[in-house]
């Protein structure tokens, strides 16, 4: 079974004329197939840095990243094989697709680059991928990104990530830039794909609620350090670290009653009891 391990990874960014920025401080975790880990933290906590290191857009200052026990290859055929195994879904659906190319092109490229299916079957495979993310292949396949909505684009991005049949997926805040009303749909799609394809998913988010809904394990990141880690329900229901508690307290809870200030009517009684 494929396992990707972060072992004591530290990342420092050097800034000209100022103190170096400590983006990650001794971070360790293991991502396995058929498992979802949620990475929760606020902006600047280091979440994106982890994503960049995983996709080899950055390298750690110290520590190791191991794939099945061996350090990840950084060049040549090994790098290519690594890239085929681990794919990323980006946050911004408007920026992650090249405005110049059609949807067909976006899905064909990974198929051809990794030779996933014989050339003659490429078209059929592209259609299959689109159906898999519940898009109407005929309507979408020859359009360009600006003709699609945000949710559709994100589904295309997911299809593109799945094209090479990876074992591991990094989803960097995949629904943050989508309308609230369609987030659940896309997340459920991701959950379904994870189950069916047996993927290991690293779900990066700042939203604790979707983290719980979607994943087995939660990691809370604060200023580059992992402050809490464990099974999803445990972390949410019985947070140990004060930062996690603060995060949970900050999530809006429709059940919670607000104490009314004098002069301001209680919303419940003002509306005749309806909450």
């Amino acid at each position: 079974m494929t396992a990707l391990e972060f072992r004591n990874v530290t990342k420092r960014y050097r800034v000209r004329g100022a103190q170096p920025i400590l983006a990650l401080d001794d971070v360790s975790f293991t991502l396995r197939e058929r498992q979802t880990i949620a990475l929760v933290g606020q902006s600047g906590s280091g979440k994106s840095t982890i994503a960049k290191i995983l996709t080899q857009l950055e390298t750690p200052t110290s520590g190791q990243v191991l794939l099945d026990g061996k350090p990840i290859p950084t060049r040549g055929r090994g790098l290519r094989a690594y890239r085929q195994q681990l794919r990323m879904v980006f946050q911004d659906p408007f920026a992650s697709l090249n405005p110049y190319h059609s949807i067909r092109y976006h899905l064909e490229r990974p198929l051809r680059l990794d030779d996933v299916v014989p050339a003659a079957e490429t078209d059929a495979e592209v259609r299959r991928l689109l159906e898999r993310v519940r898009l109407d292949a005929d309507a979408v396949i020859d359009r360009r990104p600006h003709e699609l909505s945000g949710g559709q684009r994100q589904r295309v991005a997911i299809a593109r990530a799945l094209a090479s049949r990876p074992k591991l997926l990094v989803a960097d805040e995949p629904v943050s830039m989508l309308d609230v009303s369609i987030r659940v749909g896309v997340l459920n799609l991701l959950a379904e794909l994870q189950r069916d394809e047996g993927l290991g998913v690293l779900y990066i988010t700042h939203d604790l609620a979707t983290a719980r809904h979607f994943s087995d394990e939660i990691m809370v990141l604060h200023h580059g350090r992992v402050v809490e880690q464990g099974a999803a329900d445990d972390v949410i229901l019985t947070p140990q670290h004060e930062y996690t508690r603060a995060l949970r307290a900050a999530s809006p809870d429709p059940e919670k009653h607000f104490a009314s200030a004098p002069g301001i009517p209680d919303v419940r009684t003002a509306n005749g009891g309806a909450a």
């Binding site: 890239r83 090249n98 405005p99 059609s102 396949i141 020859d142 309308d179 749909g185």
Partner: protein, 345 residues
């Protein structure tokens, strides 16, 4: 931006994904375009009225240059000693010079010199600008910085004095050498703009995604980035051609370029040396006008491209005019509200 998941929705309600299948009410799916079809479509930047007008004018000049032999009644240096310094007449549409040469023919043949050198310089200059600019934008660290410094040096050093010094070293330079000199002094502007655009493109997610897919570097630059840079490259090309045309005619007028290369500037050079001012207006006015008209045409094309790239420029004036028609002013601080029965309140 909301999903247009209008038609064909299964059960709705909390808990059921409202887009069990995203079937959207869209227009008929487009016919599949080949790569070349898409490339042609990207020249939409030339479809607006300004660009078209400019292109048509340039087209006229090109036709004149190509069919010069057929259009011009005389050779450019044919002398008619019966008609010296004569104003426009049916025989000589734009009059004659002090040696009886037909000015109209001179202008027709001069068009060739201007267009050939201008476009050649444009092509060479844009080529250099693309290579330097895109590489400087894509690489990082000292490679990028040094290319950028090189570009800035060529930007700051004043062009005309440099060209004068270089051109004066030659006795009778061939066309391509003149074009090359103009290109070498004119590429820097485009390179600078391209570098900035490439740098911003490089950090866009879709390039990162292509890299993560394992695309090779040449493919990344030529198939992923370059199409998104087309508008800038086109604009830079037009700008370089404009500068080359002005530079060439100026150099010819000064006399730095030998008169063996006939262009509109040469005509003005002769006019000035032979006392055409101020009386023989037919000698010096048409040549200058031609330069100006070609320059305007090129600028129009560039405006068209500008408006395509930055739609704000295009619509700002139209919106304001449309509002004005309804009695609203676009610069008013208070938003005027129209009531149904009357005009602006």
């Amino acid at each position: 931006m909301t999903d247009t998941a209008a038609a064909d929705m299964p059960a709705t309600g909390i808990g059921v994904p409202e887009t069990a299948t995203v079937r959207t009410a869209m227009a008929e799916p487009p016919r599949r375009k080949s790569f070349w079809g898409q490339l042609a479509a990207s020249f939409a930047m030339f479809r607006n009225p300004k660009s078209l007008a400019g292109l048509i004018i340039i087209g006229v000049f090109v036709l004149v240059a190509v069919f010069g032999d057929l259009i011009a009644p005389f050779g450019p240096l044919d002398k008619d000693y019966q008609a010296l310094r004569q104003g426009p007449s049916p025989a000589h549409l734009l009059g004659t010079t002090h040696m009886g040469e037909d000015i109209f023919s001179q202008i027709v043949f001069g068009t060739r010199g201007v267009l050939v050198v201008g476009f050649l310089a444009g092509i060479m200059g844009t080529f250099i600008a693309v290579i330097v600019g895109v590489i400087a934008g894509y690489t990082r660290g000292w490679k990028s910085e040094s290319l950028s410094a090189l570009t800035n040096v060529f930007l700051v050093i004043p062009g005309l004095p440099l060209i004068i010094i270089v051109a004066s070293q030659f006795e009778d330079p061939p066309l391509w050498v003149i074009a090359l000199t103009l290109a070498v002094t004119g590429w820097a502007w485009g390179a600078r703009v391209l570098r900035a655009q490439t740098m911003s493109l490089r950090n866009r997610d879709f390039i990162q995604a292509a890299r993560a897919n394992g695309e090779s570097l040449p493919r990344l630059i030529f198939v992923e980035m370059l199409p998104n840079l087309l508008a800038i490259i086109a604009s830079s090309f037009v700008g370089t051609v404009t500068a080359a045309v002005l530079g060439l005619t100026t150099l010819a007028f000064i006399g730095v370029i030998p008169i063996s290369n006939l262009n509109w500037g040469t005509i003005l050079f002769w006019a000035q040396s032979n006392g055409a001012f101020p009386n023989y207006w037919w000698w010096y006015v048409p040549a200058g006008l031609c330069i100006a008209i070609l320059g305007v045409a090129l600028s129009l094309v560039n405006f068209g491209i500008d408006e395509y790239v930055n739609p704000r420029l295009r619509s700002a004036g139209e919106r304001a005019r449309a509002m004005k028609k309804r009695g609203l002013s676009v610069t008013q601080a208070v938003t005027a509200v129209r009531t149904p029965s009357e005009g602006a309140s």
